[in-house]
Symmetry: C2
Subunit: 412 residues, 2 copies
């Protein structure tokens, strides 16, 4: 039976997550399928920012380090995030940016495996992870090398010369979901450590770090967690490594007595050692608003809706857009994908520009991938239908074939 | 002739910087002498934050990376900051936090002097600089060492085994101003490089990096530059080192083609190589508001008023608070101090708490220093008189000698 728009409206009627959409600001008429790049703004974020700026900074000034708990914010947000990624209290901290945290965690892992020189990474990963590790091993100059492996090759690449694997859980381009349990187990079997990048999985699906016995992880908060543009990254360090794993960017926030102003560094023996120094507080505090919405939502329901949204999008592409040379980059199997659908098309750049002009925002990744992210807290079922309809209209009328849609600009 | 409150009111009448005070939010009745720790809030910061949050994030969403110039913000703010520190366009960039930038710049300097193993630092400096360099040399494990030297010993410590000096221009505790020209010259004379930390001088006095032939510098924006709590740090790299000096925290924002998503790192050949990755945009954007105020103020006038405020504070302490065991930690000579006055007192902690309770906010640094920062854009002459009067009252009535003023809490 062919699907109709009414079927999607009916699904929205029954959707127990539907009320969450009201908590986000989405411009009238816009279908926003780019929450995997920059999550939408929780309406309460403005109120929180106003309080932090006018009351905590403007009025309470320096007292806010204690009174407003600025110094402890990195741990409080960490504890909340822990509940979304299968970690325990005290295992997660907010600090700096994802690239820096990749550096810290891989550096800590390498120091724990001094006799091994290989890091297994996915060459097609979002490149900053690779760049940071390339910078690290060049700097160390002790003969380390990255063994690049793609999806099917990763398990084989993990051999007994490997110090650590550093893999992004969900691939930024294809939406492919890696098997965290199997890769981590293989790493441990050969005596290596596992570092997971959760940029495209935290908030998109239930991650089970401790269930998979993961050693280290990090992730970003401005995608599925709706923390605001460039909001800080989080890190996970398994409790068994606390006081043993040490990161080298040793700032005063990671000191055992940060307010003792001692001359020499003495590391904290817990997750706080992984922080460095003073964080941009307004951005950090605002990211708690996005997180607090997740504290009230059920991650199982989020995943269920995410899979359904993606399934339906794939089905409609099949049914309604058969003749336009699109092919799926994202696996169809549920246990093999995150919360996005990526499509190959050699005209992808122009088509995406035309879609954006038609108020359907996804994004494009060179050379030929159109990405559509599905964020169940504020994307509805009827959004899926309407997005495909607008895409169909663009293809039928060749609306993408205009010079203004072919001008290349920076995208992220 | 003894000074009276009327003398201070008269000075305020004549003060050409006085109108700037209206641009900052200072709670009614509060005398805020802690702008050297956390600068006051420019009133326009809220409006700017609201625009970034509601319009750029909430409405324009992902488009803002181009439309609102988020990606270029780090350079635009850098160019503005350059005018305050004697740097040229293209030599300054915003990125990350001060500690991380110390790490990057010292790492770059060490790589340029591979045969030298000594870094000269001030042991009594704000410790995060020392901690970061300790972390770096431990990680490099190539026999580097820090040669700690205090004020009078620094020039002698710079010998031909030195790779770089890394000194904070104005000392965080004492307010002592180091001779940037002489120390940089001595470094160059022995073949070393000079890294300057401007945390307590940028925005406090006219810094002349290129006039002093400085190699690298960094500074913070949440003190004298009023960027907001924890707002990002800036870095200076002299143009002659661009493309040669390379920092090791190599993220995608420092890549030659950040949106090419290449697998391997290829460094930019300019200041941008010193950035790493996505910055917390709300905090970053807000810090432009503080900077824009400086674009309209004359740094010569700021310095003149700063010295006068400090001179008067010192004079009043002398005249009116002679019998209470206070002694000056800050040099009296103008060319030897920044924009703060620090006082030794073994009862300093409790006295500062009592002062704060009396709405005069300075801060305390263990074991025995009370700090008073003078920020000419929003501190008036009469604030100086009133602060000393309240301190006098506290001393005369022993108001500091209460249990609630002796409880130690975290301060920053």
């Amino acid at each position: 039976m062919t699907l109709t728009r009414d079927d999607f409206l009916a699904l929205d009627e029954q959707d127990i997550l539907a009320p969450f959409a009201d908590e986000f600001r989405i411009p009238e008429g816009l279908i926003y399928l780019d929450g995997n790049s920059l999550g939408a703004m929780p309406k309460a974020a403005m109120e929180r920012a106003k309080h932090v700026i006018e009351q905590e900074w403007g009025t309470d000034l320096i007292k806010s380090w204690n009174k407003a708990g600025w110094f402890d914010l990195v741990e409080r947000l960490g504890d909340k995030t822990a509940t979304l990624i299968g970690a325990d209290k005290g295992e997660v901290i907010y600090a700096d940016a994802t690239g820096l945290n990749v550096y810290k965690l891989v550096a800590a892992a390498l120091e724990m495996r001094p006799d091994r020189k290989v890091i297994v990474m996915e060459g097609s990963n979002f490149p900053t992870d690779n760049y940071m590790v390339q910078g690290l091993i060049k700097q160390l100059d002790r003969g380390h090398e990255i063994r690049f492996a793609e999806d099917g090759e990763i398990l084989d690449a993990i051999r007994d010369d490997v110090a650590c694997v550093c893999i992004t859980h969900v691939h930024y381009k294809t939406g492919h979901l890696h098997d965290m349990a199997a890769i981590t187990k293989k790493a441990h079997d050969v005596g290596a450590l596992a570092v997971w990048d959760l940029c495209h999985s935290a908030g998109a699906l239930a991650v089970d770090l401790n269930g998979c016995n993961v050693d280290f992880a990090l992730g970003c908060t401005y995608k599925y967690l709706n923390g605001g543009p460039g909001s800080q990254s989080f890190m996970f360090v398994a409790k068994r490594h606390h006081g043993k794993a040490m990161q080298p960017l040793t700032g005063w926030w990671g000191h055992d007595a940060p307010f003792g102003f001692e001359r020499d560094y003495r590391p904290r023996k817990d997750i706080r050692q992984f922080s460095t120094g003073t964080e941009p507080i307004v951005s950090l505090a605002m990211s708690e608003v996005g997180l607090d919405i997740f504290m009230r939502a059920d991650m199982g329901e989020i995943r269920k809706k995410s899979l359904k949204l993606c399934d339906l999008f794939i089905q409609l592409l099949d049914e309604r857009l058969g003749g336009y040379g699109f092919s799926l980059a994202t696996p169809k199997e549920h246990d093999r994908r995150g919360s996005q659908v990526s499509i190959y098309s050699d005209k992808g750049f122009a088509i995406m520009q035309a879609l954006i002009a038609a108020d359907v925002v996804g994004d494009f990744r060179a050379p030929d991938i159109m990405r559509f992210g599905f964020t169940p807290l504020y994307v509805s079922y009827v959004n899926v239908w309407d997005a495909v309809e607008r895409l169909k209209n663009i293809m039928e009328t060749n609306a993408w074939d205009k010079p203004e849609f072919k001008k290349v600009g920076a995208v992220t």
